[in-house]
Symmetry: C2
Subunit: 367 residues, 2 copies
C-alpha cells in the first residue's frame, strides 16, 4: 500500500481549494490506489462503469464492482462495491453503480468538486451533488512523473519479466518459425515466470514489416530476416517495455553495421540521461547521431516515460523542454527502418539517478 | 459489411422520432459497424475517447483514432478520424476528438438527439448541439438478440476456434502440468489457427478451485483432479464460449457419475430449445433435474446469449420470461461444484432454428 501518491494528490487538491474530487480514469485510479481490474478481455459485461475514486477532504473511497472488491481491499482506501452479476435478477450494474455513487458522494458542501470529465460517463455526472464543478483531467500527470519507492519495486519486477521474454524470444527466432510461434513462446515464458496471466504488447515481427504495426501474424521467418521484439507487460497496474532485434541465421553485413549504429545511438541516449537534462535535447542529439551515421531518421519518439500507462511523460521527442529529474523512469529506443527490407530497434529502460542513469532492463541486445 | 443492424436501428430510431444519435458503447459500435479496436491491452494511451458512431437521419459516421481508420473503413460508414499519437507535438487526442465530434455533429436541428449516456464521457457531451437529448442506452439490446446471417458466419468461425482450443486442452491436461501450461498450449493453438492474436477467457483451472474465478495460475495438476476449461475467444468483434471438463489420469467413480449427470443436464437443456420456449422455464427444468439427481445447485446461470458481448440476452436464468426465437444463439452450461474437492461443467452453443436447436460447438465433451 503506497500512501505517497494519495498524499501528493491531497496536497495539490488542497492547494487548488478542491475539497472533493471524483477520479474515473484507469491511470488515475491505479496510481492513487494500486487497484487495477483485469484488462485482457476489455470491459467486463457485468460492470456498470469504470472503477471510481472519491476524494473528500483527505478521505478516499474506492467504488468498484462487487467481484473486484477483494482485490480493491489492498488499496488501503475505504472500499464500497456495487452489484454486478447476478442470476436471480436482471443485471442492473449501471443503476447499482449510480445509486452507490450518489450515496458515497452525497451531503452538502460549498467547495469546488473536481471531476475527470474525459473518463466520467455522462450518467454518473448526473448523480453528483449539483455544485461548482471543475475539470481535473491531467491534474495528476506532473505528480506521476517521479516514481515513488513502491512504484520502482513494481517496475523492476515488471522489467525482469520482459527480460525473461527477451531471452526466450532470442532462442525462438529461427528460420521456418512464424511470428506467432515466437510470440507464443515469449508470452508463455512470461506468464510462467509471473505465475499468472499477463497482458503483453507490442511488436513481434520480421524486420521487413516492422515499420507498420508489428503485432505477430502467421508470417514465416526467412533467412536474412531481422526480427524486432518489443515487449510491454502489465503487472500490478504498471507497464514495462523493452526491445531487441534478433537474426534468424546471423545478421547480414548490412545488418551488422545497422545494429552497431543503433547500439551506439542507445548508448549515447543513456549517456545523456541525468537530472537537469532536457528531453528534447536528448532526442536531438540521438537523431543527429543517426543522420551523421548516414541512416534514415526513425519516425517515432526517441523515448518516453512508463508507469501506470505505457507511454507518458517525460516524452523524449523534439518539442519537449521538460527537464529530467531523479526518480523518473524512461524508455530509450532508437531504430533504423528500411520498409519492406529490414529493421533494427534496441530499447532500454533507465531510472534517472542523482548522478546519471541506472539501466533497469537487463536483456541481451547483442547481435 | 453487414447493413442489417444499421437498418434495424434506423427503423427503430425513426419510430421513436430520434433524428440524430451518438453511440459510444463498444457493443453498440461493433454491432452497428463491425469495427472493433484491439482490446488486449486495455484502452490505448493514444486514444482521446471511445470510438463513436454518429447517426443523422439515416446517415452513419464513424469517428475513430487515426491509427484505427484503416480497420474502420470496412464498416461501410463514412469514417472520420482524429489525431492520436505524434512525436512532433504534445498528444492532444481528447481535444482532437472533441473538435472532430463537434464538426461531425454540428448544424441546427429541432429533433431529438439520442445519446448513450452510460458510455459517453462528460467532455464529449459538452460539444454536442444543445438540443433535446434523450438517453438511448439499451435501445439496441432487443435488436441484437436475433443474429443476422453475417453475425452467424462470424460466430461459427469463432466457435471453431474454441473447438481447436478444447482439443488442445484435452491433450495438455496431465498430472504434473500446471494450469498455466494448459492455458499456454490452448491459447497458442487458437492463435495459430486464427493467424493472429486472439483475446481469450475464461476458466482454466483444476476442479477443486473452479468455484472461485478460474483464471489459470501456477497450480500443478494432481492425480484425481478434474480440470475445467471454459474458453471465450473474441474474433472480429464477436465472442464465443464453450466448456469441457478433463481428467488428468482418468475420472474417479464419483467424477464418472457427476460427468454423466452434467452430460444429461446439458442434453436436457438443448432438447428444450425451440422457438417459443421460455428462458426461465429451461433454467427451471435443468435445475430440477440436477436436484432430482441429488447434486447441489450451481450458483450461476444455466445459460446466456453471445454476440458482440460474451454475456447477453437471452439469459437462461430463473426470472427470465423471454421467449426464444429463431436466430438466437445461446450458451448452455450446467455444472456441479464441490468447492475444494472437484467440479464439472459442460457447455455448448446452440442456434435456435425453426424446429429446435443446431449445436454450433463441436468439441469433445466426453470423459
Amino acid at each position: 500500500m503506497d500512501e505517497e501518491p494519495r498524499q501528493r494528490a491531497h496536497e495539490q487538491l488542497k492547494a487548488r481549494t478542491i475539497e472533493r474530487a471524483l477520479f474515473a480514469s484507469p491511470a488515475s485510479v491505479t496510481w492513487l490506489t494500486g487497484f487495477t481490474p483485469p484488462i485482457q478481455l476489455g470491459v467486463s459485461p457485468f460492470a456498470g462503469g469504470p472503477p471510481l475514486l472519491w476524494y473528500a477532504s483527505g478521505e478516499w473511497t474506492l467504488v468498484v464492482l462487487d467481484s473486484d472488491a477483494p482485490a480493491a481491499a489492498a488499496s488501503g482506501c475505504t472500499v464500497v462495491s456495487y452489484r454486478g452479476y447476478t442470476s436471480s435478477a436482471p443485471i442492473m450494474a449501471a443503476e447499482q453503480l449510480a445509486t452507490t455513487l450518489q450515496r458515497v458522494t452525497g451531503g452538502a458542501s460549498a467547495g469546488q468538486l473536481g471531476i475527470e470529465e474525459r473518463a466520467l460517463p455522462v450518467f454518473l455526472r448526473a448523480v453528483l451533488p449539483d455544485t461548482n464543478m471543475v475539470a481535473i483531467d491531467g491534474l495528476l500527470i506532473p505528480m506521476r512523473v517521479r516514481k515513488t519507492a513502491e512504484e520502482l519495486v513494481k517496475l523492476r519486477e515488471n522489467f525482469a519479466l520482459t527480460d525473461i521474454g527477451q531471452a526466450t524470444a532470442r532462442l525462438a527466432v529461427r528460420p521456418g518459425q512464424t511470428e506467432l510461434d515466437v510470440w507464443a513462446a515469449t508470452h508463455t515464458a512470461i506468464q510462467r515466470a509471473a505465475g499468472q496471466r499477463v497482458p503483453l504488447g507490442n511488436d513481434c515481427t520480421v524486420g521487413r514489416r516492422a515499420h507498420s504495426g508489428g503485432w505477430p501474424l502467421d508470417v514465416e521467418i526467412q533467412p536474412g530476416d531481422s526480427f524486432v521484439v518489443d515487449l510491454s507487460t502489465q503487472l500490478r497496474g504498471y507497464w514495462s517495455d523493452s526491445c531487441a532485434t534478433y537474426y534468424a541465421d546471423g545478421p547480414t553485413r548490412r545488418q551488422i553495421a545497422m545494429h552497431r549504429t543503433v547500439t551506439e545511438a542507445l548508448e549515447l541516449a543513456i549517456s545523456l540521461v541525468k537530472p537537469g537534462a532536457i528531453s528534447g535535447e536528448i532526442d536531438r542529439q540521438v537523431r543527429e547521431f543517426m543522420v551523421t551515421a548516414g541512416y534514415p531518421l526513425y519516425s517515432h519518439h526517441t523515448g518516453h516515460g512508463v508507469g501506470v500507462t505505457g507511454h507518458e511523460e517525460p516524452r523524449i521527442v523534439p518539442y519537449n523542454d521538460m527537464q529530467l529529474d531523479e526518480g523518473m523512469v524512461i524508455m530509450l529506443e532508437p531504430g533504423i527502418y528500411f520498409p519492406g527490407e529490414t529493421a533494427i530497434r534496441l530499447e532500454d529502460a533507465v531510472l534517472v539517478t542523482g548522478s546519471g542513469a541506472e539501466i533497469l532492463t537487463r536483456h541481451d541486445k547483442s547481435m
